[in-house]
Subunit: 489 residues, 2 copies
């Protein structure tokens, strides 16, 4: 699409009018991603890729700081590996991509494209592990995984998606469980401090566990339509996979034992969470801490001074870069200023600066925060010197807005009628539940709501310990606190 | 393998005795990579992955500096896309991985796992391109690609390997050819300045071109057995792919034109080149500029002062880190100093420091360069302050050694007998060749040697313009200079 074509098609369906349509349009029009000719797969475009690279970089640095090492395992996995852990194959079989021919050779034993890598990593570990001295294995890899999806939604539901998968092996359960909680904490910190996403840390119920896990923990965020999005998971796998793949070692006491393993992941879905938590009717709102472009400068020029004003804008950009700010000067030709303003608002750039000849003369610059209604005219030096603080303010504003929204749209319910009314109204519901899987299933069928998680003791949201009676079965609560129900992506 | 098992199996077959065996052992024993249960695919282990990450980081920074943008295209490609460019399908068909089932659904139109992405990128471009104002597209992606290999050799020949593939589209041939040469220069600079690999830049003959290219340029390095390894390629694709995928635009003159496209790549094979260019009988030699660990410190202790000496080693490490040096302290227990020395020499760490209680008392440290025979005992402050310069010296030494080796093992030949004798002796041969493809083919069948490339005018190696008579056909030289023949990996 050229600039002019885009101008014609300017604008997105307002978020408040049709959230799904807003999402689909904003992803395309902001140039984050596009549909591909491969069913269910997307193309991540430069703006989306720059965003993902920043996500990868932050997480990767934290993984390394906490002693983890990256590896690269094959994309293909022998089909029979998947079958070796009973729950695992049941969970993944319907989604597998099968490779049965290489060159002209038809394979006796087909491969699958990895839906996740516990199995092949377990296999490799069994060859690498001998003694407790070799442990822990603190491994992770970045890459693509493949799970068939019936309906594509860019970033949120694609057959191929991008992620890291962490895989660790430990000599005992306590250490493994410590790892699981450490990684959940890192995910929580990342969401809160970098993406400005308030998330609820908690444990999933048995029916929502990862296929093959003993315990699954998640972070859950609320989108602006009230639905939940599971934004990261961390699993304690017990000895399930180590038994299936013979990952054993000689203990300090000279006994043969199976390792306790974990796995954990955040995927490119998190970009969907970012979009759906922060946007507004005009488009995206990028949190400054992750924004590939934090400030955009629009040189406001007449036909006869384009080059001069671009040069002046570049000078201003240099002053901001010296403060560590990520800046882009919009030098595109043949587009109106109004189009450019709208375009960068749609892309969610936190701050826009406008610099015209008169501003230059007066030593001022026009400043527009993405989250503000009005422009400000500031002395240029002040605008530059205050930019880092301004960006921090916008970051805090976004986290506060999202937190307020989540709190305002979470209600308690003590009867099924209250529960259904709240779910229907797009709320999260805090309620007592017995823990009975059959009841969970029935509630899901009737209301499309599931237990998002049981908030962890001590976490900042919804974690109060409380006793009560299950709204659905009348049995005593199974968790010692209310759990979070919601519809989900 | 535990440390003790490794100690028992210490040592590698000397490079001078059996180069292939040396290579296979060194990759495994240095923990760079391992064989996997997937035919032809490897597992890249932490040391290899750290090395690859550093390669990726350097190149990625350069791509961005030169205005390129990263994207992520699907791993799968519709089979019929591959068939659309005639040379392309002929080149890749025998190596393709076919996906014909997703979940339980058998596909009418199978997908292939990408062997390279010109086709699907061409398809996407045709949707994105309208006007000359949209050009150039300066795109690249990092990822895995899949080409069946009959015999696995870790890093060098694996069915799945890692790379970036650059893809650019331009309004005219001149700009596209400029891009091709720019990327070849970046590859050359990377090999020379970072990996300490002397490489010959040049154009491939028609029979060695990329499937679908108008012109292919390569950088070729000489391994320590005299064989060549093509270490990077840059292709001018003309309008072949843009015609096949309808990548057209309205020119400044309002005419419809097809874009001129390029592609370029360096893959994880480059790690094979690094190993085979720099190693010696004891193992790897990592160039300091790419080494994940530049200096290893061995605390030399008795049983009663292990903790103290580790703490002292960490203090020393901190002093080096303050100089920007990448340091590892070897804290492994239950291993002899001798084992540790050998282990880190095998891994090719540029500098080893030994710190014992008496050294501490005397304010000295023992320094051993990987490329030197003898240890030095230096005042500690001097060793620390001189480390950056020492690493630079080792870097320069490696490039010089590899350059000398390449020059010493490249000979000229003017008759077929001279040619065959030199090839048989493991040399590169500079010779006049007619350019006749049939003659090239015959030479290859008889000697396994191919034309590596025609060195570019102005490049530092073997580029002198010269006229002469083809040693094989007696016809006049087709290149205005001698071309480089050699056996290849």
């Amino acid at each position: 699409m050229t600039g002019n074509d885009k101008a014609k098609q300017y604008g997105v369906t307002p978020q408040s009018q049709d959230f799904n349509e807003w999402y689909n349009e904003v992803v395309i029009k902001a140039d984050l991603a596009d549909y591909s000719p491969v069913k269910g797969a997307m193309v991540v475009k430069p703006y989306g890729s720059a965003l993902w690279e920043r996500i990868v970089r932050w997480l990767d640095d934290r993984f390394k700081e906490t002693g983890h090492e990256s590896l690269l395992f094959p994309t293909l996995i022998p089909m029979d590996f998947i079958a070796r852990e009973a729950d695992h194959v049941e969970g993944f079989a319907p989604e597998l991509f099968t490779v049965s021919k290489i060159g002209t050779e038809v394979l006796d034993e087909p491969y699958v494209m990895r839906p996740t890598s516990e199995t092949i990593i377990g296999h490799m570990w069994s060859g690498w592990l001998n003694s407790y001295r070799d442990l822990p294995f603190l491994h992770y890899q970045w890459g693509a995984v493949f799970r068939a999806e019936l309906r594509t939604k860019l970033f949120l539901r694609t057959s191929e998606f991008y992620w890291h998968e962490g895989h660790t092996a430990h000599a005992d359960e306590q250490e493994a469980r410590g790892e699981v909680m450490q990684m959940l904490s890192i995910y929580h910190e990342f969401c809160r401090d970098v993406l400005a996403l308030p998330v609820v840390r908690g444990e999933k119920t048995a029916s929502e566990r990862f296929a093959g896990a003993v315990a699954t923990y998640s972070i859950e965020g609320m989108m602006r339509d009230g639905k939940a999005l599971q934004s990261g998971t961390s699993h304690y796998l017990g000895q399930n996979f180590s038994r299936a793949f013979n990952v054993k070692f000689q203990s300090r006491e000279q006994k043969e034992e199976f390792a306790h393993t974990t796995s954990w992941a955040i995927s490119s879905r998190i970009i969907g969470a970012l979009i759906m938590t922060h946007g507004d009717d005009k488009g995206l709102m990028m949190p400054p801490n992750i924004a590939p472009i934090q400030v955009v400068i629009i040189p406001v020029s007449r036909k006869d001074n384009v080059e001069q004003m671009v040069a002046e804008a570049e000078t201003l950009a240099g002053e901001l870069r010296a403060q560590g700010v990520r800046v882009r000067v919009d030098k595109r030709e043949g587009l109106s200023n109004g189009f450019k303003y709208n375009d960068w608002e749609l892309k969610g750039i936190p701050v826009r600066l406008e610099l015209g000849p008169r501003d230059l003369e007066n030593g001022v610059v026009v400043v527009k925060n993405r989250n503000a209604d009005d422009k400000e005219t500031l002395p240029r030096g002040e605008a530059v010197a205050g930019m880092v603080a301004r960006l921090a303010d916008i970051q805090a504003w976004l986290l506060q807005r999202a937190t307020d929204f989540m709190l305002e749209n979470t209600v308690t319910a003590d009867t099924y009628d209250e529960f259904k009314a709240a779910i229907e109204a797009g709320k999260w519901v805090r309620a007592f539940h017995s823990g009975d899987p059959e009841s969970e299933k029935q509630i899901k069928e009737e209301t499309k709501a599931t237990i998002r998680n049981e908030p962890l003791d001590g976490s900042e949201f919804f974690a109060e310990r409380e006793e009560g009676v299950c709204f659905h079965t009348g049995k005593p609560s199974g968790y010692g606190k209310r759990v979070i129900f919601g519809r989900q992506y």
